[in-house]
C-alpha cells in the first residue's frame, strides 16, 4: 500500500506524516582518505553489479528509443539508409484517413473497455472479499485468465469461440433466434469480442482491488451500520473513498495498457493482412505494425510510436491532475 501512495502522489502522502529526518545539520567534517577510498570502492562495486542492467538499458531501451526518435524524422524502409525528411511523417500521418480510423478505434476501445474491465474487477473483488468457504479457490480461478491471458493462444481460442458457427454463434441463435453470425468476421461486432476478451482478463486489477479492500478498517463499516447506512451507502461513502488510491492506480495502469493493445487485436482480426474486416479492429499499434513491417515504412512507424507516447503521456498527466478531486489519501499514512 505504502509504495502505491508514495509512488502516486508523494506530495500528499508525506504532508504532515510522522517524524521526518530533520534539516541537514552542519556539514560533516572531511572524511579521512581511507574512508573515502573505501566509499569509492563500494561505489565501484555497486556500479559493477549494476552494469548488466545499465548495459541492457543503454543497448535495449535508451539506444533504440533514441534511434526511433531519429527515424521518426526520416524516410526509412529498412533496406536503404534513412533519409531526413523533417516533419513529413507527421503530416502524412495526420492526412491519412486510415490513421484517423486507428485513432478512433483505439479511443473507443479505451473508453469502453477500460471502465468495463475495472468494474468487473472491482465487482468480483468485492465478492471475493467476503468470508466464505473456498475463497482461495475462487480467487485463483478468477485470477488465472489474466495470467494466461496475455498469451497468443488465448486470443486464438477467443477467435475460435467467436467465429462463425462456433459456440457464441450457436448460443445466440438458440437463445435469441438471431442471425448475427460469428463476431470475428463481422465489422460491426468484432470489436465487442475484443472488449469481451479484455474484460475477461480482469484478474490483475482485481487482485490489487482485493488488497485495497483488505486495508479498509472494519470499524468504519460497523460505525456506519450502527448509524443505519445500507450496503449501497456503505459502498459509496466508505469503500470507494477508502480504496480511491488503488482505484486511481488501476485506472492509470489499465488505461495505459488499453492504449497499447496489440496482440489480441492483431490475432483476432488480422486474417488477411488487415486488422479486422474493413479495418474494424485497426487499433493504433496494429496500424503501426502494418506500416512498419508490411509497408516497410519504419520512419513513419517510429513517428507513430512517438505520437502514441505523447498521447499516453498526456492522458496520464490529465489523470494525475484529476486525482486531486477524487482520490483520498489517508492522513495517518497507514
Amino acid at each position: 500500500m505504502t509504495h502505491l501512495q508514495t509512488a502516486a502522489a508523494p506530495e500528499t502522502a508525506t504532508a504532515g506524516s510522522g517524524p521526518r529526518p530533520g534539516p541537514p545539520g552542519p556539514a560533516p567534517k572531511a572524511r579521512p582518505p581511507a574512508a573515502r577510498r573505501r566509499a569509492r570502492r563500494e561505489n565501484l562495486a555497486g556500479y559493477l553489479f549494476m552494469s548488466p542492467w545499465i548495459t541492457g538499458f543503454l543497448l535495449l531501451t535508451a539506444g533504440p528509443m533514441a534511434a526511433s526518435l531519429y527515424f521518426a524524422f526520416t524516410d526509412y524502409n529498412l533496406f536503404d539508409a534513412p533519409r531526413w525528411i523533417g516533419l513529413r511523417n507527421f503530416t502524412d500521418m495526420f492526412a491519412d484517413p486510415r490513421w484517423r480510423q486507428s485513432v478512433d478505434v483505439t479511443l473507443w476501445y479505451v473508453v469502453v473497455g477500460t471502465p468495463l474491465k475495472l468494474a468487473a474487477a472491482l465487482g468480483v473483488a468485492l465478492l471475493l472479499n467476503q468470508k466464505r468457504r473456498g475463497q482461495g479457490f475462487y480467487r485463483a480461478a478468477f485470477y488465472a485468465p489474466s495470467l494466461i491471458g496475455a498469451s497468443v493462444s488465448i486470443a486464438i481460442v477467443w477467435r475460435a469461440i467467436f467465429s462463425d458457427d462456433a459456440i457464441v454463434d450457436r448460443a445466440q441463435r438458440a437463445l435469441f433466434g438471431s442471425d448475427v453470425g460469428g463476431w470475428i468476421g463481422d465489422p460491426d461486432w468484432i470489436v465487442y469480442s475484443l472488449v469481451a476478451l479484455t474484460v475477461w482478463q480482469f484478474g490483475a486489477p482485481m487482485v490489487i482491488f482485493l488488497a485495497g479492500l483488505k486495508q479498509v478498517p472494519r470499524e468504519l463499516y460497523e460505525a456506519a451500520e450502527v448509524d443505519g447506512a445500507g450496503p449501497w451507502r456503505r459502498f459509496w461513502n466508505i469503500t470507494l473513498p477508502m480504496i480511491s488510491p488503488v482505484l486511481f492506480f488501476n485506472v492509470l495502469l489499465e488505461t495505459i495498457h488499453s492504449f497499447q493493445i496489440f496482440g489480441s487485436a492483431y490475432i483476432l482480426g488480422g486474417s488477411n493482412g488487415t486488422c479486422g474486416p474493413a479495418d474494424a479492429t485497426l487499433v493504433y499499434t496494429c496500424y503501426l505494425y502494418v506500416q512498419g513491417f508490411e509497408n516497410s515504412r519504419m520512419g513513419l512507424a517510429s513517428a507513430m510510436a512517438w505520437m502514441l507516447l505523447l498521447a499516453v503521456g498526456l492522458v496520464t498527466a490529465v489523470l494525475f491532475w484529476s486525482q486531486r478531486r477524487w482520490v483520498h489519501y489517508e492522513e495517518d499514512g497507514r
Binding site: 535495449l60 531501451t61 533504440p64 536503404d80 468476421g185 465489422p187 474493413a278 508490411e294 515504412r297
Partner: protein, 437 residues
Amino acid sequence: MRTNGTGGTGTRGTGTVDRRGLLKLAGGSLAALGLTAAGCGTGSGSDGGIVTIRYAWWGSDDRAKRITRTIALFEKKFPKIKVKTDFQPYLDFWKKFNTQASGGNPPDVFQNAVGFLRKYDAKNVLLDLRGQVDAGNLKLDGFRAGLEKFGEVDGKLLGVPVGSNSMALVVDQAVFRKAGITPKPGWTWDEYYAALAKIRDTQGRAGDSGMFSVMYLYDMYLRQHGKAFYTAEGLGFTEADLTAWWNKAYEGVKSGIYADPKKVSQARPKSAVAAELAASEFTWDNFTIRYTSEGKSQYGLAPIPTTDGKRTGQYLGSLMLSASRRTKHPEEVAQFINFMVHDPEVARIMGYDRGVPATTAQYEAFKPTDPVNRQIAAYEKQLVDTGVLEPITPHPAGADVAEAAFLRIAEEMALGRRSVPDAVQQFFSEAKTAFGS
C-alpha cells in the same frame, strides 16, 4: 542461436558494429513498445565440411509434410548439405522475410512469387542465379513452355519456377448441374452473369462469392480490353476503369448474384463456395484441392469468361525458388534448387501442391489419379491447347502493398463502408504511396 565463429547478427563478421548495423539493431528493437519483432536469425555456416543452408517457404501443414520428405531425399543424395526449414502462412512469411532481409540475414533459399521479384531486387536481396547456371550447378533446360524465362527480370535470373498455375473459375458442380448450366471455353461475361442470375433464382444461392477484390481477375479483365493491372512502374489502368469494375460488383451484391460480403467475411478462412454461400469463385486452379477438403460438394474448374469470345487474358502464375545475395553457399543453394525442380521423385511427393510441376521431367513423373488433380491437369492442358496464354507482366516494386490495399478497400466497399468513388480514390492514393517508395 548457433555460433559458428563468424560473428553474430549485427557484426557481420568484421568484429565492429558499423553505423548501419546499429541502426538495424535499433530499428528491430521497436519491440520495446510491446511489438513482437519477428525472427531471430540463425547464421548458416559450415562445420567439418557439412554445409547448412536455410530454406524458408509459406504454405499449409500438408505442404510442410511433403516438403520435409523432399528435403530428406535431398540430404540423402547430398550428404554434405543440411537443410533447415522455416515456414509460415503467406502473409506472416513476408513479414518475417522482410524483417530478416532488412537485418541482412535472409534465408539462403526461399519460396518466391512474381509480385516480389522487383521489390527485393531493388533492395539487393536476390542473388542473380545466372552465375550458377554458367558454373553448371543449375540446369535451365527442360522447363515447360512458357516457364523458361519466368524468373527473369531485366536480364537477371532471380528465381526458378517450381510449378505453374493459372486463374480459373472454381464451381460447385452439383449446383451448376442442377441449374442446367454448362460452362464452355469462350463463353462471355453476359452469359456468365445470366448463369449467376439463374443460380440465384433456381438454387437459392448466390452465383459468385464476389469478384471485386480478386486482383488477378481484374487484371485478366483489363487484358481482355488491351490494358493490364501493372506496368513496369505502376498501375496500368485509370480511375474510370476501376470505377466501372467496382460499380458492376456493387450492383451484383445488391441484386443478389454475389454472396452477402458480410457472410463471406464471417465464413473465413473457409471459402464462400465451400461454405455454400456461393456457387462459384475466381481463384488459382490449384486451390481446388483446398475446396475439396473444406466442403461437402464436388468442385470443378470452368473457363474464364471473355469479352470477345476468345481472349481470356490468362497467363501462368508460378511459385519460384530464389536465393539470397548474402548466402555464403551459392553453390549448394543452386544444387538444392536444381534438385527441387528437376528430380522426378520430388514431383511424386509434391504432386500439384505448388501448381503443375515446371519441368517436363517432373511433369511426366507425376500422373495424377485422383479426380481433383486430374481436373487441374486437364484444365492447364486445355489452356495450352487453346493457345490463350499470354506472358505475365513482372510486378513493379510496391505491388505487394498495392495488392493488399486493393483487397482491403474492395472489402470495405463491398461491406458498405465506402462508396465506390471513395474506394477508387482511396486505392489510387494508397497505390501512389506504394509505388512512390
